[in-house]
Amino acid sequence: MNIEDRLQNAARAVGELWSDPVDTAERLCRVQERLAQQPVPTPVESTLHRATPPKPSAGERPLSEVAFLTVAEVASVMRVSKMTVYKLVHNGHLPAVRVGRSFRVPENAVHEYLRETYCEAEAL
């Protein structure tokens, strides 16, 4: 059997997974339980490729005051390579705005990321 047929067969087999309505209902219950446990949503979403800029909530700086850093500047602040910064942006760990072919990262997002990972490192 050639590779293409094997890939198609695997795709067909995967297509049959999770088709049991009883299982789906169980998974829905689990998600609804989790939603019930977190009444106040604290969404963390990457702004990568976002069409409209995020609205600043109360207490946040308005967009006009947000300083944006280039990837090279972020790399310099974090003392890592530019490639590491690109990976963070692509993985969604660091929100960024796409400007043409380059990225701009909000300064506060870098501080937020460092604070978050610092706390996580402490917890290890």
Binding site: R6, L7, N9, L17, W18, D20
Partner: protein, 168 residues
Amino acid sequence: MAPTSVEFARFFTQWDPHVRRYLIWLEGDSGVLDDAAQETMIAAHQYWDRVSSLENPKAWLFKVAQQRLSKARTARLRHGISTDPHELPGRVGHRDGLAQREERLTILDAVRKLPQQQATAIALQLQFDHPLSEIAEIMGISTGSVKTHLHHARATLETLLTDVDGAA
């Protein structure tokens, strides 16, 4: 505005299996996959206004699923818990014989070894039969890049699967 429970249940029933079938091409750890899929659906609930306004939320869901997968992997790594990577979630159907299951695991394992972009492109094409333009939209790249990723993915898979068959 949050969805009603009926609205969300309908959405969940329609899209959760698709998200999981997409993620299984990228992740073999059933615990990580489950976490990522759950988080994706929770994100859809939180961003309901945006998600419900989309004609086809697949691109949004898959993009978020990929981000949540990355977070779930990091979290699982940090907590040091790992489930059996060969444990496939979901109930195994009657037609799913042992040989077919082994074959599927071999193929999925090979796809997961590919670079992320290549694995994503091949998963979207094989599993959902998306046209190149839709894969490009979901991945946020050009159709030319999608073609390149698919070409390299197939070439690498051929080598990987031939090696596996040779070893067997």
